[in-house]
Amino acid sequence: MAEFEPKIVAFVCNWCTYAGADLTGTSRIKYASNVRIVRFPCTGRIDYMLLLKAFDEGADGIIVSGCHPNDCHYTSGNFHARRRWIMFRSLCDFTGIDTERIKFSWVSAAEGAKWADIVNATVSSIRELGPYTEYKKVAKYPEKEVTHG
């Protein structure tokens, strides 16, 4: 069997992490290609339901990332987000959703290298954890993966 390649969805804010990820590319830093990035205006917009939807649709891991505290383009979006993450994470933990599979980070527009590190670290830790079969089973995610084409 081929080695398991984790599918990872990254929810990032437009102003910091997306720009940071851009920098990773323009700086020609090589990093794992398992991540599909979804860009949001602000981490404050990243609804927890979106994270659950990512798991429904077969994600094995999730990265949520935005501006460092005090750097939010809209002043406080990331502070609000942080509160929600704290509560959402505790609910996930309580209901047995694997919080090891949801990574949160602050990556600024200047931190191209950090973004590469976060992605690489996430990919390798998810690779170790294996596919998120628990959730896929509940979501009745088709066993044979659907290819888009």
């Binding site: 649709e57 088709p142 659907v146 888009h148």
Partner: protein, 341 residues
Amino acid sequence: MNIDKRLVRKDSLEKLFDILKRNSKTIYAPFTKNGKTTFRDTESFSGISTGYIQTSESSKDIAFPRAEKLLEYSKNKEGMTVKGIDINDIPEVILWGVRPCDAAGIGELSSIFNWDYKDEIFNNRLSRVTVFGFSCNKSDEYCFCTSVGGNPGNTAGSDILFTRMGDDGDYLAEVLTEKGLSVVSMATDLFEKSETSGKEKFLAEVQVRFNHEEIKERLSKYFESKEWVEQSMRCLGCGACAYVCPTCACFDIQDEAHGRKGSRVRCWDSCGFSHFTLHTSGHNPRDVQSARWRQRIMHKFSYMPERLSVYGCTGCGRCSRACPVDMNILEHLISIQEVTV
């Protein structure tokens, strides 16, 4: 078919269960958790609940599941493949411990699914269910089967009806259908020939509380009554009554997609929800709770008898037991009978 009466010793039920299991039968039986009794796929006889007046949920789930796949599709470069569910995949099931009011509900569901268009998915499910009815020897203030044409020892809908003769007695088994007979043939020794009759003295007493013909008659002139508003003021518009009901059959059809594959699913719905009849335009024909409550009663006691010649109620009283705000259907029906129009 003539009713075949047999005697089943009290300790033979477990043997029967084991024989059926050895014949790899799937058995759904009442199982209690969190103080509520529901039907579950059961592996061991000892887990089966007894002594319940009524299960919290009806057994309709077996023939009319809360969510069932109707078809599967997949999109590909060549176009689209759509496959209906294979009715041969529907498992054969024995429903163990069904109360007569639930068993009677099967007939009413069947009328809904077979008037005019025949719903073969439902029919195939039903044809694979063997119903072991258990007569009632206890009742409570919510029971009113005798007011809607049933009784605690009603045989309608059961394939075999077991009546316990006395608190710790043996069972009288009435074998009612071919399906019932085929079970008997698997365990002939356990179904002893019997001359026993007169099960009535072992049955619970359920008084007749209203006349359903009269209710039907009255409802036809009762549409505009203020009573609906008063009765439904405390109704919160959840679907508990409809979902525990053995005869409520309203459903929704939903698509569920994963990428380019997916399925179409039929799932329960309730006329009590405010969005049940809501049009996309925003227009809602039943936009207040009183209209929705009225629909529930009218549908069961007026529309169904007129259209399908059956009542949509078996008097199990579940809706009243399940209601979080004590909407008591029996009380309301009696008040409809008493109020002068």
